[in-house]
Symmetry: C2
Subunit: 327 residues, 2 copies
DNA sequence: CTGAAAGCGCTAACAG
DNA sequence: CTGTTAGCGCTTTCAG
């Protein structure tokens, strides 16, 4: 790679002028501009982000933190993020934290080190205190998952209400015994969806039975399957189950197949997230759709505002139920 | 963030000494070390990657190029990459190219700009010429997908042989009419898997019928489903189908469900990749397992060797068939 | 409109 | 063992 000095020498001007041609062309005479442009082309020059960053402290890059790329839920959000970012002249780097605090620190340091201009965090396992502290100094936006702290901006949905509606839908269908496959309640959305579940059951005077609630440790197919196995093993088992994530629901569905239970006749199932898989399994999964693409692109807009130093309002987007064939 | 100067002043030493304490502690007296360590702690100092990079031209970061994170095939490879990278003191940045050449350029520029020390490319759509050219200057390794060019290192499997074995397995089961759901043959693995398919059929004197071969444009569930729909619509339809990717196979399976065909009795199905989902669908998919984790970690080792300036041998790893219930 | 020069944070000779 | 200093590639005053 040629450096700015080489270009300057080649064009017979100073480095300052080269820099001006690149950043503020109006301040340079047309003729000089032309000479420099020519040198740039000839030498195949590209400004070094490193040198520039060191000087200006901006990289036009931002970090997207997510726990694991194997959860398809993130795929579409990232799509939205990526498109909007590129539109705004930014690039994104995906950072898989694997829910490992040590790894998180590495990525946080990247922003401290000015290797990135901002962070979109989608990681529910993120250290909230650290995130809040960091957000006082650097542009940070939370997407989907969020900490209950008003110094931190987020874009998300109303999980409690969505869960409430899902369970209500099961009730309207005549179900009286409704199970819940939940994720570890230390995650905000898990506890919110639990509350929605609870609220619906209470409203219709239905029993909330501990035996019908299973909290998984992990968010993968196997956990969902195992949860359903436990639920099925009860003498008095539920006739419908609400799973707080499609990944869990799909795993649960597998267990139903293994036990040759007819879905939804012998067991109804309601998922959450509307991941691509949910429409490929058989029968297609009834689920809650989040506006994933929008969540992604909006979080970028929010981040851009923050970078510009503007005040940013957090946002709760609409969801909707997608009734397919498991209910 | 505190700078090295502030630390130096606080500790009452020169910046050089601070730098030494960080990079080559042995060259510093214990007592001085202690003072500096203390200052570092007090001021919460972390070396700026930017300043360091500008000076040393290394970031201990590398880029992982992949077309799309929504293909679960990559998840496990990335796992292998990530673990090995961290072990080696490196960090990775995931770069989704979306098969968009423009985006590719951005990431390639990052390495030219010394923002990363190396690249692992898993993108089959990557511009091969550019990659080859780049690889003469920068450390680059291909993982899974590869260009047939011996200047470029890769780690992969023998796709042709794997496909051959898969189809042979179907033949041994008594199938005489075997369809193929393939991906665009401009991708090397697609053409290799095609060759394996062809070879097996020829060996057993079975008909290779164009109508039984469908090349999808995209690599997603829907394409697989559509492919199977076409295959089923034939008057003389195959009794078994080999799909070159689990994603396609899973989509195909959905179409079989919709048509109420019993699997494998009325239609057998063989996938490829052993993605997590393949064992969750019903019936569980027979497929080819690639050593994804190993591919990931080996590609890191290869990249490290390259960074150290060593010669690197490309590698073809073993695969194996996983016979589940769709055959 | 253009050039000279300072400096972003760091490392690595070089001297002592 | 430690300090001084040049310089990585760039942008940005400040003069002219």
């Amino acid at each position: 790679m040629a450096t700015i000095q080489e270009v300057a020498k080649y064009a017979g001007v100073s480095v300052a002028t080269v820099s001006r041609v690149i950043n503020t062309p109006d301040k340079v005479r047309k003729h000089t501009q032309f000479k420099v442009q020519n040198a740039i082309r000839e030498l195949n020059y590209e400004p070094s982000v490193l040198g520039r960053s060191l000087r200006t402290s901006q990289t036009r890059l931002f970090l997207v933190l997510l726990p694991s790329i194997s959860n398809p839920f993130y795929a579409q959000i990232i799509n939205g993020i990526q498109n909007k970012a590129i539109e705004s002249g930014y690039n994104i780097l995906l950072c898989e934290t694997d829910s490992d605090p040590a790894r998180e620190v590495i990525f946080f340091n990247m922003i401290k080190n000015k290797l990135a201009d901002g962070i979109i965090s989608m990681d529910p396992t993120v250290n909230k205190e650290r995130l809040i502290e960091l957000s006082t100094k650097y542009p940070i936006v939370q997407c989907s998952e969020y900490a209950k702290d008003n110094t931190l901006s987020y874009v998300t949905i109303d999980s409690e209400r969505a869960a409430y509606q899902a369970v209500k839908h099961l009730i309207k269908l005549g179900h009286k015994k409704i199970g819940l496959i939940n994720f570890d309640k230390k995650f905000l959305y898990a506890s919110e969806r639990y509350r929605g579940y609870e609220k619906a059951l209470k409203e219709f005077d239905l029993e909330i039975k501990d035996d019908w609630i299973y909290n998984t440790k992990h968010l993968n197919f196997e956990s969902g399957q195992q949860a359903m196995r436990v639920l099925l093993n009860q003498a008095d088992r539920p006739t419908a189950v609400f799973a707080v994530s499609d990944v869990l629901a799909v795993g649960a569905l597998k267990e139903l197949h293994i036990n040759q239970l007819r879905v939804p006749e012998e067991m109804a199932l309601f998922g959450f997230d509307n991941i691509e898989f949910s429409n490929v399994v058989y029968p297609p999964l009834t689920t809650v759709a989040q506006p994933m693409y929008d969540m992604g692109s909006i979080s970028v807009q929010m981040l851009m505002s923050k970078i510009r130093g503007e005040e940013v309002e957090s946002l709760v987007l609409d969801h909707h139920l997608i009734i397919r064939e498991t209910t």
